[in-house]
């Protein structure tokens, strides 16, 4: 399966070509190149998936295949950094997800970004992102993953700041980069601790379930926890930063400043699930050696999902609602991983998490692209500027509704199946966790239908011109993703992706499924009652819970807390003294060297008179002196 290397190299090539030619070609050419390359690698990925899932089974277990591997940098016997491609069920699944969404976004952008300044740059960055994300998921070792992890961060930064003349976009890009970088520091330290004691970066060895690998950790503790727990927790912090887990979620809502297709690709479907993927990749270590860290992940995920869902209920910017919804859904995936055990029915959560990741990528990509279509039509992100759009934009309306039903967990749409598995896994972990997540799922249904009614129903807003359906380039991805959303639930996912890579037959737990559908329907009904027609119930509710409402709409003041910590505490007590030291001690020393050199040279520059004969005279004297010394000493 050597051709998988092409899946990585083609987008890189397209990035280089598009990046170098910049604006020398017509924008359309750049868009076409990007899209064609994506089409090729999408086909290749599907082919890889087909070939992998039809051939790679041995004793009922999918084998890990490494079609390409090379040693990149060798420092010592143990410390060497390799590059390679690792195919196993989750990476193959991610290949399919990434290339599909990426292709849809590329096609969609042909319409959405038409006539934008920097169209070529946009496509170059999209290619860079696709390359990095694909490199991340097929990484054979944790350090390669880290390299691509950072590349993904950079391309995310570049794309959020695409409208670099807009100050808010620049600030958002900076925020996203700094917050995720901060989390990546944890990731890096985690990697270093882990590899220091195990003497390897390689996933194959790390996840081989061989206790000898971790024998180096024996007895090493720090602050009451074993070093391995610290390493795994720190690695999770990296994942939490990328996946916007509480309290590192602050960058994701702001990242919506980027172009909407970018939000669909990076900040909904692919990059933000990198953290989930990371935990899934290292799952054998988490579940076998540090189950308490895994439970911690579950609690963080659960809290984040409720927290973000609560905020999503009061946001008015449609992209922000979707952003918080993304955070909440990633929380679901994290919970699901966190409550999972290993193998067979125990590993239900793992399977459910990956299934939800797959479905979520499709329907959340669809929601964002739909949002882009709406923004394209009404030139505003605000829900209050929309309303009654269902008559004008039928395709967007239907596809958006499908995605809303999917995320709310209504059968037979894809979200129902994966979310139901998550619920089942949660109830098996503990009934409280199950109930908690069921409530959060209900809240999900509520805010999604609040959004839906706010956009497509309700009072019509006066528009400058009549909103129109989007062009075919934008409508096609919507229809395509909606089709996947309708049918993806029937994929026998347990046949493909499970924690032990063996076959697992999904059985719907009727009890759990019934409860979650019922809860979803109740909350949808509530949303219908409140938002379908213009009514004053939402306002009354907002008034009677004004404290809660205000806090939620200000995102529970987490940003303010960050600003307080950074601006007041870190800047004043650490940065300022350091800056003073830098300016007055380090810079001053260097300036002193420079000025004393200058002073000396001013003093002695008279010696260089430019008079040849003087030089010759000195030269002669020197010669005579040396001669005399040789002769007489």
């Amino acid at each position: 399966m050597q051709y998988t290397l092409l899946i990585l190299l083609l987008p890189l090539l397209s990035f280089i070509v598009l990046g170098l030619v910049d604006s020398k070609w017509k924008p359309k050419v750049a868009g076409t190149i990007g899209t064609v390359v994506l089409t090729i690698i999408t086909v290749l990925s599907y082919f890889t998936a087909f070939e992998y899932f039809t051939t790679a089974r041995l004793d009922g277990v999918y084998q890990k295949i490494i079609p390409f591997h090379m040693e990149w940098l060798r420092f010592t016997e143990y410390l060497h950094i390799d590059l390679g491609i690792l195919l196993d069920p989750i990476s193959v699944m991610m290949l399919v997800v990434i290339t599909t969404i990426s292709l849809m976004v590329n096609i969609y952008s042909l319409g959405y970004m038409k006539n934008e300044k920097g169209f070529e740059r946009y496509y170059a960055f999209l290619s860079l992102f696709t390359f990095s994300m694909l490199g991340l998921v097929v990484a054979t070792n944790i350090f390669q993953m880290y390299i691509f992890w950072e590349l993904v961060g950079v391309s995310s930064y570049l794309l959020i700041g695409f409208y670099y003349t807009k100050p808010s976009a620049v600030a958002a890009a900076k925020k996203a980069f700094i917050v995720t970088r901060f989390a990546d520091l944890g990731f890096l330290i985690g990697i270093l601790i882990l590899s220091f004691y195990t003497k390897t970066f390689d996933f194959g060895i790390l996840t081989s379930a061989n206790p000898a690998v971790f024998s180096g950790f024996a007895g090493v503790t720090f602050l009451g926890f074993s070093a391995l727990s610290w390493a795994m927790a720190l690695i999770f912090i990296g994942g939490a930063g990328k996946s916007a887990m509480f309290p590192l979620q602050i960058w994701l809502p702001d990242a919506m400043e980027g172009p909407t297709p970018v939000s669909a690709l990076i900040h909904a479907a692919t990059m933000v699930v990198a953290g989930v993927f990371l935990v899934a990749r290292l799952f054998p270590i988490y579940v076998d050696y540090t189950p308490h860290v895994l439970h911690g992940i579950a609690y963080v995920g659960a809290f984040t999902s409720l927290f973000a869902a609560a905020i999503a209920c009061v946001q008015t910017d449609i992209k922000r609602v979707l952003a918080f919804s993304t955070i909440s859904q990633i929380g679901f995936m994290m919970v699901s991983l966190g409550v999972s055990g290993n193998g067979g029915h125990e590993g239900l959560g793992y399977m459910a998490s990956m299934f939800h990741l797959f479905n979520h990528a499709m329907f959340k990509g669809l929601l964002f692209l739909g949002a882009g279509s709406l923004i394209h039509a009404v030139h505003s992100n605000e829900m209050s500027h929309m309303g009654g759009l269902r008559k004008y934009m039928p395709v967007t309306h239907i596809t958006f509704l499908i995605a809303c039903l999917a995320i709310a967990g209504i059968p037979p749409f894809s979200g129902f199946f994966s979310k139901d598995e998550i619920m089942a896994a949660c109830y098996e972990f503990s009934p409280y966790m199950g109930a908690f997540m069921t409530f959060t799922a209900g809240l999900t249904a509520f805010y999604m239908f609040r959004l839906y009614y706010g956009i497509f129903w309700g009072k019509e807003h006066k528009h400058e011109h009549t909103p129109h359906e989007s062009p075919i380039a934008m409508a096609f991805p919507l229809v395509f993703l909606a089709t996947i959303t309708v049918f993806a639930g029937f994929i026998p996912f347990g046949h493909f992706v499970t924690s032990d890579r063996a076959n697992y037959d999904i059985e719907l737990d009727n009890m759990v499924a019934g409860i979650s559908v019922l809860v979803a329907l109740i909350f949808i009904a509530l949303a219908t009652f409140m938002y379908r027609k213009e009514s004053d119930i939402p306002k009354k509710l907002a008034k009677s819970f004004s404290g809660l409402y205000k806090a939620a709409s200000r995102r529970f003041y987490i940003d303010e807390v960050y600003m307080f910590i950074t601006k007041k505490i870190v800047f004043n007590s650490i940065s300022r003294p350091l800056a003073w030291f830098d300016r007055n001690v380090i810079d001053a020393t260097m300036n002193g060297f420079a000025s004393s050199t200058q002073w000396t040279s001013q003093k002695i520059k008279g010696v260089q008179s430019g008079q040849v004969q003087q030089y010759a005279y000195v030269f002669l004297l020197g010669t005579l002196l040396i001669t005399a010394l040789i002769l007489f000493i």
């Binding site: 260089q608 008179s609 430019g610 008079q611 040849v612 004969q613 010759a616 005279y617 002669l620």
Partner: protein
């Protein structure tokens, strides 16, 4: 003195006499190089020094290694090189004169900065 003259006529001048001449020539050249103001005079001084070296070559060859020819050949080489060097130097001096309408060495301090 009379002795020296007689020896000279009879062809048996001691080596030191030749070396004395070349020494005087060389230091005359050095002095000229350091003290003259005109580039042409400096050039002539350089020629003097070169010729002093030539005399040494010939003399050492003649007196110390009478059976060999290297010294003579070196003298010939030096003469040829001195001719080339003079041609180049004259060309440079002419260009300097065109630019500065002067061949005074003291005015050639443009390069110091």
């Amino acid at each position: 003195m009379g002795d020296l003259f007689t020896n000279f006529l009879s062809g048996s001048v001691p080596m030191e006499a030749y070396l004395g001449v070349s020494l005087i020539m060389f230091f005359a050249g050095v002095y000229g190089f350091l003290s003259r103001k005109s580039l042409l005079m400096i050039l002539i001084s350089i020629e003097l020094m070169l010729n002093a070296a030539d005399i040494n070559f010939v003399v050492f060859n003649r007196y110390l290694y009478p059976g060999q020819m290297e010294g003579f050949f070196f003298a010939l080489f030096t003469i040829a090189i001195a001719a080339c060097e003079t041609a180049v130097a004259i060309a440079i001096i002419i260009n300097i004169y065109r630019n500065l309408t002067s061949v005074e060495v003291g005015e050639l301090d443009e390069m110091k900065e």
